[in-house]
Symmetry: C2
Subunit: 176 residues, 2 copies
């Protein structure tokens, strides 16, 4: 008797997310029904040049915030693109930087009780200028914060990927 | 010209989540359409007795994990219940403990690009036995981890609320 999905029905499909009603068989044989929000996954990047951290502000309509301060980030929205490639593309699109050093810090589920969204968090250092054009008008404003103000930044940030990335830097340093 | 929601249509309603298509007016007057997953919000609790942290394992069908290790947590699923009351109830239901000291550490958006789910994270200390019956069979197994193994636990945890709570404890200590 294995833990496995034994049935699935897509009940809604949007531009980014989907909703599925799934049937799962538990390891003891019992079957349960779960509503699951499907999401392609995302990346977030802790990027600094040894003195400044690079953040972005943008409107986040789902939470009613016209200018939420977050790590540079983006969805895995291109077929077959691996998370590190997405992270490199987003860093160039959002803050106009490339990085000589990339390190994967952690990957986590945003909300495993009802969604399959995974967020991959990277550290990017040895930054250099490298601009890339974004697909759409993302209304992004770049903001730099001194590394010496990391504690205040952590207390100011309000989303999972930024908190995990910045707390990881503060708690665990630059290693995975 | 304000940042405001100027239209909303519910396109799916499940037992926990909903999906809305919303129209927002940006601060420069442009209007955009957003797909938003609505969620009641949740709490998570970093609970320790000075020696052991209390975690729970449970099946998380949305991410295909039969035994994900997480902080005790739960949804704000009772009308009008405040987050601290939810946290106290969940701690008693999930690990059979009350706490003499409660502290709010942070509140964050799980995924502000497409969902309105907020997660409130508390620190609970001065633990004592206090059992409460859960509403449903939650298939929860309690697991304790020594505080001295906090780093290994952080590297093992794979969900936003557990990482934020445990990283906060390691990085910021027991203050908000």
């Amino acid at each position: 008797m294995a833990f496995e999905r034994v049935g699935v029905e897509e009940v809604w499909r949007g531009r980014i997310a989907t909703v599925r009603v799934e049937r799962w068989r538990q390891e003891d044989g019992e079957e349960v029904e779960r509503e699951v929000v499907g999401h392609p996954g995302a990346v977030a990047v802790v990027a600094h040049d040894g003195e400044q951290l690079y953040l972005v502000r943008q409107p986040r309509e789902p939470v009613g915030d016209p200018a939420l301060l977050e790590l540079p980030a983006g969805k895995l929205d291109r077929q077959g693109e691996d998370p590190l490639a997405t992270a490199k593309r987003e860093l160039a699109e959002e803050i106009g930087k490339g990085a000589g050093s990339w390190r994967h810090l952690t990957t986590f589920w945003a909300s495993p009780g009802f969604s399959d969204e995974a967020i991959h968090v990277y550290l990017a250092t040895d930054l250099y200028d490298e601009h890339a054009e974004a697909d759409e008008n993302e209304r992004i404003v770049i903001e730099t914060v001194p590394l010496s103000k990391l504690d205040e930044l952590i207390r100011h940030c309000k989303d999972s990927k930024s908190l995990v990335g910045l707390l990881w830097l503060k708690a665990m340093g630059e290693s995975a």
